[in-house]
Amino acid sequence: MAKPFSVPPVVFRSSAVQRRPPPRPASPGLPFMSFDLGPAPSSSSFSARVPGSFEDEPPLLEELGIDTRQIWRKTSSILNPLRVAAHLHDDADLSGPFLFLMLFGLFQLLAGKLHFGVILGWVTVATLFLYAVFNLLAGRSGNLDLHRCLSLVGYCMLPMAIFSAASLFVPRGGVTIFAMAAVFVLWSTRVCTALLVALASCGDELRGLVAYACCLVYTVFSLLVIF
């Protein structure tokens, strides 16, 4: 049944480079599987074909919307728990949080625990929990949306990632690790509450209530590090 069929040569509009016609089917057992085993047309011929289209493309990170300078600025603002720059977090992006979550998972991996799936699941649940609690508490004036909530929760995971790295050098089950956990959870909570209250137009009287919800979320993550 290996009926040979002829394919007309493919001609591109703006160049004279032609593809070779596909070869005849080689093996009789697979008549319909014929693929071009020859050398593919080189990429230089592509750029020569439509001049300027490849060089005109924006850089990959810019196309993906990842602004590394902004991520660095946001990161360094979180490193200082006492002074919170909320205006930097107006544009919510998810690449910084992704990076921090991967770092957290990496440090857990260095400790011998494979927690990537658990981190993903718990971050999702934590985001939904905070989103629900914050919007219900703030009532009419709460305008937190899920994207921004996830972005804030992810950025405030930076202290957790640092805690995970630091816990590699501390003996397990001692008092020091619990004390460190308390410090880092408080750091995360303070930054997260300050950002939430500043960004999502909530009154100051709800600060303590939102802080307790954030505290619960980050305590759960510190459990991953301790145990």
Partner: protein, 338 residues
């Protein structure tokens, strides 16, 4: 539904524990009673068939999804019903709408609620038939979250030391739009709220994770939800047997959830000193019993007919409710040592 129960009973038990049938039964009851979207339910049932209760250890997704479905429907509702004041008392008839009638013959309330919840999420438009269905069972949840710091502190004092509450226990009413409604929790210490129960439940889960490994968190979540559900059943059953049972369901959910505050405190104390458990737990059960008796007495007072007030039957049932707190607290305090 009975077919499902039959399947659940007949499913093979590969693991050493013999709890999967009760767990899946509980899940079925929970989802059926609150009209959750069916997908997480089916997925969790599928997992249970395959692997027993330990399946949730490796794969904690179904339980958060279940919780999410529980939170999602009131959340979608709050911006639909936000223009109403905090309405208590008998719920009004839902406004007639063409979509509700069109879907009524389509299937059970489970599918209707599920389609409503998913339709809302995917299409992004507020669906009126879901609004009318949900408002028949839940009052406006926004009312229960109008709290502030001061209310939370005072309410915690009332819950943990109900003997020391010097004021009265009745809720303050105000006339709104021609009918009496209760003041929101910000203005009234005796009003129920949902912030404290949810935070206390979260604290209970987290502290349970602290005392043992984090893997049992999902099991503890299920156990906590079961306890909360039983508490709500108890309160609602009490209301039905003594009165007309017209108090809003979310009120009962709120009163039932206050148990977790004392429970979390006891578990926290147990982390520090293990013998404190033996005298703190009965003390907290007693406090919760007193709190519930005083609250439910007021709730029943407003609903019952005048010739039935102060009956001995009412007193015996309230006493039973207070005594039932003890086994409930001890069961919830027992961390599932997997």
């Amino acid at each position: 539904m009975s077919l499902f129960l039959l399947l659940v009973r007949c499913c093979p038990q590969p693991s050493l524990h013999d709890r999967p049938s009760s767990l899946s039964l509980f899940l079925l009851l929970l989802c059926a009673s609150s009209h959750l979207p069916p997908l997480p339910l089916f997925y969790s049932l599928f997992l249970l068939f395959r692997g027993g209760p330990n399946c949730f250890l490796d794969n904690p997704w179904p339980l958060p999804l279940l919780l999410l479905s529980l939170c999602a429907s009131p959340l979608d509702m709050y911006d639909n019903l936000g223009n109403q004041a905090g309405m208590q008392g008998p719920t009004t008839n839902p406004p007639p709408n063409p979509f509700g009638n069109a879907f009524y013959g389509a299937g059970s309330g489970l599918i209707r609620g599920g389609l409503g919840a998913y339709g809302e999420k995917f299409l992004g438009s507020s669906s009126e038939f879901m609004q009318s269905n949900i408002s028949r069972y839940f009052s406006n949840p926004q009312y229960y979250f109008q709290v502030n710091d001061q209310y939370v502190r005072n309410k915690l004092k009332v819950i943990l030391f109900p003997f020391l509450h010097r004021g009265h226990w009745t809720r303050i009413t105000e006339p709104v739009g021609g009918r009496l409604s209760y003041k929101p929790p910000v203005y009234d210490i005796n009003a129920p709220d949902l912030y404290i129960p949810f935070m206390a439940f979260g604290t209970y889960i987290v502290i349970a994770g602290f005392s043992f490994t984090p893997e049992i968190l999902s099991l503890q979540l299920t156990r906590g939800l079961a306890g909360w559900f039983m508490q709500v059943l108890l309160l609602k059953g009490l209301l039905y047997s003594l009165g007309s049972g017209e108090a809003p369901l979310l009120d009962m959910v709120s009163y039932g959830g206050y148990a977790f505050t004392g429970l979390s405190l006891t578990m926290l104390a147990r982390l520090c000193w293990s013998y404190s458990y033996y005298f703190l737990m009965p003390w907290m059960s007693l406090c919760m019993g007193v709190f519930l008796v005083k609250t439910m007495k007021r709730v029943l007072f407003t609903e019952m007919r005048s010739y039935e007030k102060h009956s001995s039957r009412q007193h015996y049932l309230l006493l039973f409710m207070a005594i039932a707190q003890f086994p409930l607290f001890f069961w919830l305090g027992k961390v599932a040592a997997g």
